[in-house]
Point group: C2
Chain length 229, copies 2
Amino acid sequence: MLHLILADSELETVPLEISSDKSIGRKARKRGRRPTELILDSNYFHRPMKKLDDSERRGRPDIVHVCMLTALDSPLNHEDFLRFSVHTRQDKIIEVDPETRIPRSYNRFVGLMEQLFLTGEVPPENPLMKIEDATLPEKVKEVKPEKVVTLREDGERIRRENLFRELSRKDDLLAIVGGFPHGEFLSDVHSLSDQIIRIYPKTLEAVTAVTHIIQFYEEEHLENSLFDG
Amino acid sequence: MLHLILADSELETVPLEISSDKSIGRKARKRGRRPTELILDSNYFHRPMKKLDDSERRGRPDIVHVCMLTALDSPLNHEDFLRFSVHTRQDKIIEVDPETRIPRSYNRFVGLMEQLFLTGEVPPENPLMKIEDATLPEKVKEVKPEKVVTLREDGERIRRENLFRELSRKDDLLAIVGGFPHGEFLSDVHSLSDQIIRIYPKTLEAVTAVTHIIQFYEEEHLENSLFDG
């Protein structure tokens, strides 16, 4: 099983300190929410966000959206060999059931995240996503994987064979990918990881890291059964 | 070089026959455009779109967006071995320069597409995307590739080695992926293709086909130089 965690993701609700901003207030009224119930989105709240620490990287639900879309549609997920979860800057963990259908529309996805932060699980009738308080080390401990790797542009260049050495399809490999646009992990990934690896020597988008690690795993463990004739 | 064409993509402006719809008119006024200058979006124009032929598959700029985002951030593109283009239902071809930076925000992307359909190229000061009238066969003829493959769920299961047999890195492989949510290609891909292949026996999203064919090519032609130590 491949456990993929999008870590330190920039997904959060509007912080109290900017919740009295007029443009956020207008959007909240329009959506029938309190300002602090809205998902922080740098694309809409660029100006008020300037008051926040780390403002240049926060408010990026789009990164979570595109990573979820691609991860959940992968053959690896269809074959039930993937567990995808999201860890956020505020140490929340979103568990995503492999059967979840992610809204294709960005606005609907953000609406779903709003509801998730508000109620703790979505959809109400048959919850497929749940959000809980947990740090990245707590999540890793819960999975108890045979191996933990983190993807970073300054990681080690490795051969695919080495990544999977001594791991069978029954073993749990946990891969950590940063869910933020640039900068450093906020969590201490070094102490959690057996290996820090890279797939390319330049900065890549989170989604590119996600699709590549998934496909490495597919080719290692599903290729004979699926891709080849 | 890998030439990747997202074919029969459901990207178009609002057709004349539904342009007098009130909800479309409101959105057009808000954006300072004529109704027929807006990009058709099934998420916003679901009701008026019911009058259109093939209404259940049309108006999907989100598919083009996520495919462009992932294709242009791939190591293959960074290494200048990818040419990505979009062919649409109305036989328009969008040529995308490998250096193009695609807006992460869906709404900004749709705004950019609006401008592209209106002016023929974007951004104005230094055009990186151009749109022209051309059918899929015309585009294939222009590329003159050594081999053409189309990805379809009912295609042939193949080994990666066979896909690339007799092709060197200097040769042009052209891969066709459907840029629509479901149903059949509108273009006659059979007569254009040397091989119809599949990467998985079930229906996949366009983005999953895009990321997989790109990574196959990367592993065949870039692996020694990039991925391995």
